[in-house]
Structure formats: C-alpha cells, structure tokens
Symmetry: C2
Subunit: 338 residues, 2 copies
DNA sequence: ATGAAAGCGCTAACAG
DNA sequence: CTGTTAGCGCTTTCAT
C-alpha cells in the first residue's frame, strides 16, 4: 500500500539527525563544508526516513533548475537521438538534465514547445535548425539564457551555433558524382518545406547542378517529411519509370536511400551498375546494407557533444562571446555508387 | 543583447494590468472564473512585458508539476521511441509533459535515474521492464505516485503494468516454425543479461524448443546488448560457419535480423530457401527489406498510448485498482521465412 | 468575478 | 563547520 501521509521534508531529516535544515541542505550538495561524519549521519537518516530531495523547492529558491531544454524534430530518428545522446552525456557530469521536446518538423509546434519549455526555467536551450517563427525568436532572445541552434548554419543566429551547411554538404556530393562523369542526377526528398534541413539539401542539389551547367529538374517528391523507407522506395519506382536514363540519385536521408535501393533490388535494377544511390546521415543501415550506401556523415553525436561542451564553458565563464562551431560533414563513398 | 535585469513576475503583470496577482494567476489557467475582458487584457500586458509563466514557483506552491517521468533503455531505438511517442501524445492534451531518461540497459543506472527523476516530483512514473534493483523498487513504492511497468509482465508488479510476455511471443514464433516442419532453429541474442527483454526472449526460445523435444543449444551470442545490425551480421557468419545445417534463426530484434540477412546476401546464402530468418519488434526495415522480415509486432506505440490513458484515468479517478493491461503481440510471417 | 494573507520546501546571505 | 532569518513566485484558502 502507498502511505497517504505526507512525505518527509528536510526539516524532518534535520530534526531526526539533530541538526539544522541548513546542514541537511549542505549535506546533499557536493563541495560544501559539512564534516564527513555529519554528512554520513544525515544521509543515513534521510535514507531511513525515505526522504527524497525536493528539486521543485530548490529550483525556486536558488533560481537554478539544472535543466537544459532541447527541441528536436522527431524523437524517432537516429541522427537526432545521437545528438541528444551526445548532449546528455556531456551535461550529466555537471548535474545538468535534459528537458526534451519534439516539434514534429513544424515551426509553429516548435513555438508552442519553446514557450512550454521556457516556463520550466531551463538554464540553456538547444534547438534544431535556424528557422523559427517570429514569436519563437522573440521568446528565445528574451529568455536570458544561452540559445544554441544546431544542425544548421543560420545567417542571423539567435545566439550560439553548432552546425553545418546542409546545402554545402549535398553540393560536395554532386561535385563528387560530376567528377566521376555522372551528370544525369536526381534528388529524392520531401514534397513540402516543413523539414528545413531537407529543403536546404534540395536547394544545395539544385545550386550545385546549375553550377555545373546540368539539368537540376530531376526532383522526385516522396511525401511529407520525414521521408520513410517505404516512401523512398515508391519515389525510386517513379524515378525509374519516368526518367529511366538517370545515372545517380541523391536521397534526403539514408532511410529513403535504403528504400530506393530495395526498389531497385525488387526490379532487378543493378546498383551501382545501372544507377548509383546516395543518402545522407550515415545511419547504421548504410554501413550494413548490400551494397553499402554512399552517404554523408554530419557527426550528429559530435553536434550534441560540442553543444554540451559549449554550455559547460558558458556556465564556467570560459566562453563569453557567441560561438559558431562548424562541423565538417564527411563524404563516405561506398558500394552503392560508382 | 540579453537584458540583465530581472525578468517580470506575475506581480509586475498585475501592477501594469491594474489587477491583483491572483487575477493574473487565474487568467493563465483554463476553467477559472475571470471575465473574458480582464483575461484578454492581462494576457496582452503579459505578452507586451515579455512575461513567461514561472512553473517552478507554481510547482512548489501547488505541489503539482505536470511531469510524468519515463525511463527507457535507450533513446536510440525505434521501438522505445514509439512508446514515448504514444505516451507523449496521450498526455499532452492533459497538459502533462514527459521527463525522459535512459538507462543504457542497466538496472543500476536505472536506480540512479529513478532517484534523479523522483526529485523533480513527477506525478506518475513509467518504467521499461519489471526488473529493478531493491533500492529502485523501494524508491518507486514509496514515491506515492502511480508506477507503471511496461514492455514486460512482471510476476510481482510494483503497481500498474502495460506489457506483454517476451518469452511467450518468441514461443509463438518457435511453434510457427515447428508447425512448418522446421526443427533445427537457432537464436541470436546478446551475450549478457543486461537487456532483460532480450534475456526473456532467449528463455522463451529455449523453453519452447524443449517443449517440442528439440535441441535448444543453437544459441549465438552476438555481443553486449543492444545488438547492432553489424553484430547480427557477424553472429550470422558464425552460425553459418559452425552450424551450417541450421534451418531457421530467430534474432532478438529486427535490427540484428537484418544484419543477419545481409550476411546471407554477402555469402550468397538464399533466404528463406536455405535458411529462414525472423526478427522481433516490427521495425520499419523489416517491412521494406528484400526479402521482408518475419517478425513480431509488440505494438510499441500502443504500449505508450495505453499507459497514457491509464495515467489519465488514474488522475481522473476513473481507475483506482492496479491495472494489468496485456498487449497481444502479433506474429508477422513475411518473406524471410518459409 | 476578484482580492488579501499565508506558505509550499528549500537555500542565499549573513553570522558565528 | 554550523545555525538563523528571510524569501524565491506562485497558488491555496478564505473572504467579499
């Protein structure tokens, strides 16, 4: 049975331990001056009483929550999960905890989420991307805490940035293909601009193709972002039907690229013999599939780890100016491309 | 520039709006008696001042945080992400927010995490699995909030349960193979018992094989849980080398099953012609791969959604007794098995 | 529909 | 190393 009586407070622990509440408070902190003997005794009393420290009171009084708010587009995405993992591990040593929310790739939802998160008084906020609603920008600017935009290199950052240019990364991929003499290149991506990183990748594709004087119109819309494996497969089917002379296809992610690969397998279309396939993100699947997938590794975990390091430096005073940490994505040429 | 002056409080809003702080407080709630005119005026003043409601103060005074704590083994797992998604969506309408932490498949880490989460005074806690350290059990029992164990059917539940029997699910898979005349069946899983669900699946495999009077010793240890695609591929390589007459292999997850499939493709081993492969979890990859993967769908999103519904019912008083909601996993026979 | 007083459980600030 | 006092910003409770 759950005991319906009120849970013990610090005052209860103090009374039983025969000290003042302040000493109990100190015993629960690190680096505070309490004799080891009293600390041990206090912690024992606390454990015996079933006392659990109450952060809500601590948060209010100390005006510190140890929260770092983080927004990601989707919780079900290995790339963003890696970024959160890097963040979480980098912050946990400092006793900072992540308050996570997801936007479903929607900047209006992001605005709602940011406001909800700021009410919890996080000490820093990490957001994915550099595009936000006007009100979201205002909320972030006025929050009085470090703001870190990631997975992008916004032209007018709100504060700090840890990211890379999605457009440039895809440009590098196009350059790679063109250098190999591959010129009839298609792009499979989302059919809406909700996913701003996907949109940037498509823009990078178009710009790069035009820079080479090539036809940039082989754009296959695969559905509403994020594009699933299934949608990648369907898009590949349409591409093979409508533009059969295509030599290579760049997909907005490894997931859609894998779907595209399977469609080729189903149709007996040789990859990379008849068509090359490339993805984005260096998801695990691309390293294991047959053939392995040519892709771009944006080092998602590093993005999180660098953001965490930045927050720690900001709190310690080691960093004061707005930081702009650029991650260099790596082109991984593998079995799915010539 | 960030303004270093103190952010506005309700008292500031009240002063400017010409009302008492209490009226401002009411204006920020729903279903409270404030005239629409005053509410509108107050919200406008608040927005103009850049006031952001302070949950930390509200939490302390009202003894309500609107947090539901959730622990999952890994943030980078589509199954658990789906459960969190179901939970999150089911709770958000009621204004409840998820406080998420991951245990890295380690019940000692889980204990630390549970204590940290309880300090934030969540109003309910959802944990993955039914195995916990003694201290974690005590913490949960004494927390005075609803405890929901998921992804398992523990014999001695701490409170509520939304789950299924991992052992029984795999048993059904074995029965399916045996009914088709397939008897030389192997199991690929983790080499440690950290992942209790993986361990239960292996136990279910062994029990089912023995029940059929079959050899249950074809167990391939693929590494420390969770098993990656790569580890699944390596394990399949060892299986093909050491026990080449194996007719079917059941993998602890679709990810390892896909890895195993790719190893067969690399070696030119026909699937399912020479060997059948089955996974667990109904990950997206199993529906798209060539061939598609035979698997078990445990309805991860439903687990989260049912847990959310339970919490809502518990809060509203519609449910009072300990609930035991059993999810019925579904066997999906697909292209990778005969 | 609105207001006044009190206090949630901790800790900053100061004292010793 | 330990204690005292006051108060963080809200909301409960009780009025009107």
């Amino acid at each position: 049975m759950t005991t319906p009586r009120k849970p013990p407070t610090m005052a209860d622990v103090a009374r039983v331990a025969g000290v003042s509440p302040m000493t109990v408070s100190r015993a629960f902190k690190q680096d505070t001056s309490v004799s080891e003997a009293t600390r041990g005794a206090i912690l024992k009393v606390a454990e015996d009483l079933g006392y659990v420290f109450d952060s809500t009171a601590s948060n209010l009084r100390s005006q510190r929550t140890n929260f770092v708010a983080v927004t990601i587009p989707s919780i079900n995405n290995a790339n963003f999960a890696d970024t959160v993992g890097g963040l979480s591990d980098g912050l946990k040593e400092r006793g900072l905890q992540i308050l996570l929310g997801y936007t479903n790739y929607d900047i209006v939802e992001e605005e709602r989420l940011i406001e909800q998160l700021l009410r919890r008084r996080p000490e820093a906020i990490v957001v994915t991307g550099g595009r936000h609603t006007e009100r979201a920008r205002r909320l972030l600017e006025n929050a009085g805490i470090p703001v870190i935009e990631t997975w992008d290199l916004p032209e007018a950052p709100l504060g700090h940035v840890v990211g890379f240019s999605n457009a440039d990364a895809v440009r590098g991929m196009v350059d790679h293909f063109v250098a190999r003499g591959v010129t009839r290149i298609a792009f499979i991506g989302g059919d809406a601009d909700r996913d701003t990183r996907g949109t940037d990748r498509r823009s990078g594709f178009i710009a790069a193709m035009r820079a080479h004087g090539l036809d940039a119109s082989r754009l296959i819309a695969a559905g509403a972002p994020p594009i699933s494996m299934r949608e990648g497969a369907d898009a590949m089917g349409r591409l093979l039907d409508s533009l059969p002379d295509t030599q290579a296809v760049i997909c907005v992610s490894d997931l859609s690229a894998f779907g595209a690969l399977t469609e080729c397998q189903r149709r007996g279309v040789d990859v990379p013999g008849r068509i090359s396939i490339a993805g984005f993100g260096d998801y695990e699947i691309g390293a294991v599939s047959v053939p392995t997938l040519t892709t771009i590794n944006p080092f998602p975990r590093d993005i999180g780890a660098r953001a965490a390091g930045l927050i720690v430096d900001l709190f310690s005073g080691a960093q004061t100016d707005p930081a702009r940490i650029e991650i260099e994505p790596e082109l991984l040429v593998r079995g799915s491309s010539v």
